[in-house]
């Protein structure tokens, strides 16, 4: 028996070592979707300003073109805050909105949200989930747990940046879903520092961030100015979650049909 156990251990470690030497697989991302662009899904008026920047999602666009299907991996602290609340076994709201608005599109959502995870641990798990599920797009709700756990900002920034780069290297699009707007946290230094860090990452890495915080801040201000009471638990209602799903759906729809940025002109060779 010990010999069998030893042999099994050696075989597995040998296979691991062999795998280390294998080449990376790569996907072709040169194609553009042939599906005609459709107007992106609207965001309900009650949800405030959907501040969605146009950031192409080339790998998801390719999947749409080739398979008419986009596989989305949801990971992070709160799946409801990305996908919307799904009731009675129905698919999440995000899936419904995308399939309703983009003709012929089949959306598969793989929800692997485990609560309480910090960015570093989620990043490691995310790599495993990518290897197992081969998503075209990762929706990553990140930052809140790290802010509450007082993770140093530089550690957080390093972890998220590394994971975002890893995803880009593996031809997986990523959308970061940012921190929540809570009036009580507007003066929380660490919360705001994590939020600013997330902004820096998305700008530096050219990835899409759902500006959850800003959108809700604008809506809260609008409600205040129009004399309506500002809800205490803003966004933490089913309506709030569903607004988030609408923001995400709009961002994906815009990203699927966005033109990739023009490559920088090569300087002419000089002699």
């Amino acid at each position: 028996m010990p010999l069998i156990a030893g042999a099994l251990a050696c075989a597995l470690f040998g296979a691991l070592a062999g795998a280390l030497c294998q080449g990376a697989w790569a996907q072709d991302t040169s194609g553009k979707p042939e599906t005609s662009p459709e107007p992106p899904p609207a965001v309900a008026k009650d949800c405030g300003e959907a501040n969605v920047t146009v950031t192409p999602l080339p790998n998801s666009a390719l999947a749409l073109q080739k398979r008419q299907q986009v596989k989305i991996l949801a990971i992070g602290a709160s799946s409801a805050a990305m996908l919307g609340m799904g009731h009675d076994g129905n698919p999440p709201l995000l899936e419904e909105i995308l399939e309703r608005n983009i003709k012929g599109l089949d959306v598969e959502i793989i929800n692997r949200s485990y609560s309480g995870e910090l960015a570093e641990a989620a990043g490691e798990r995310l790599k495993i989930e990518v290897a197992l599920n081969h998503p075209d797009l990762v929706l990553w709700q990140v930052g809140t747990n790290d802010a509450f756990a007082q993770v140093p900002v530089e550690n957080f920034e390093q972890s998220v940046t590394n994971t975002v780069r890893w995803l880009k290297d593996h031809n997986v699009d990523v959308i970061l879903v940012g921190l929540h707007y809570i009036k009580q946290l507007t003066k929380d230094e660490h919360y705001q520092a994590i939020r600013a860090s997330l902004q820096r990452i998305t700008a530096a890495e050219s990835v899409l961030r759902i500006t959850r915080y800003e959108a809700m801040e604008v809506l809260a201000r609008t409600m205040r100015e129009s004399g309506r009471p500002e809800p205490r638990d803003f966004g933490l209602t089913e309506a709030g979650y569903n607004c988030m799903a609408q923001y995400v759906a709009r961002a994906i729809a815009v990203g699927l049909f966005a033109k990739p940025p023009k490559p920088h002109a090569q300087p002419s060779p000089t002699r």
Binding site: P2, L12, F13, A80, G86, A149, L236
Partner: protein, 362 residues
Amino acid sequence: MIRQANAIDFWRGFALISIFINHVPGIYYERLTHRNVSISDSAELFVFLAGWSLGLLVSRRKGELTAPGLVARLGGRAMTIYAAQILISSIALAILAGAAYAFDNPLILEWHNAAAAFQDPALAHIGLVLLTHQLGYFDILPLYVVLMLAAPLIALIDKFAKPALVPISLLLYFCALVVPFTAPTWPVAGQWFFNPFTWQTIFVLGFVLSRDEGIGAVVRRNMRLIRIVALPIVLVTAILVWFNWFPDPTRLPEPKLLFLNGKSFLTPIRLIQFLALVVVFSGSYAYFAPWVPWLADFFSSLGRNSLNVFCVASLLSLCGQIARYLYTGSLLTDTIILIGGIGLLRLTAGVSEWRDRRTTDA
């Protein structure tokens, strides 16, 4: 009669303290737990020792327990653990709700997968009762419930078809890895953090290795040789973990779960490393316990009352997370959380034993 300090209770106490620390993410002292140099962590140890205890129970009562008696006894234990899970989940929800109100921060209601319990309470409560909705860090007892529900079957196979037990367990393990499959969560669609179809293996291995017959006896007879194989595994994997030298999971061959390092599926690399760790450290208690008897007593007292201590530890970890958020997670805060938490765990063990003594005296 309270049993003397022993190796099993000691290591169980060790696992409980590690779980308490690791469940306060970001705490300074988490860098001192053994998972920093080990692929496996205290969760494996906890489940393995649960299987070991079951093995000891079945061995001791070999002649006394009939098949229906076994089912009744182990089923009763599963119900106790189930009741504990429901109780601590309810208290955890109340702690989150209380903290959200007390500190005027509704975002706390979203922590630990609790959002569904507050936003969709009807379905979430059904899920909590069915164990298909689990709060973050409150997900190991549901596994333990399932394993204890399976325990009568394990004991019966052991009784009537002993050689088949480990092959059946390994067959289920590899099927769950190769297909792959796991238990789903509901109403929030997802997966159990601890896949019961793979984690049952470590429970069964704990069960069979605790026995003085079969595989357990073979291992004991060849312990010296097995240690020679195990030691390099422990050392090499410690280096891999320390430097994070793991292969890119996308480059691994199919079926990937056979080669990945994944906790949810208790992948083979974790299982093998854990067994190697057990082999290397087995017997060490006898050497160090005489030198630090107070430590042996302390950890053993926690281990003797593992369910009560585990429940309190889970709740204290949650309180620790809230305290770190409120008091900005300084080293002082972390030290207070650590010392206060461990002190309360010891108190829990002491009260449990005091109550047991009174019950016995009465």
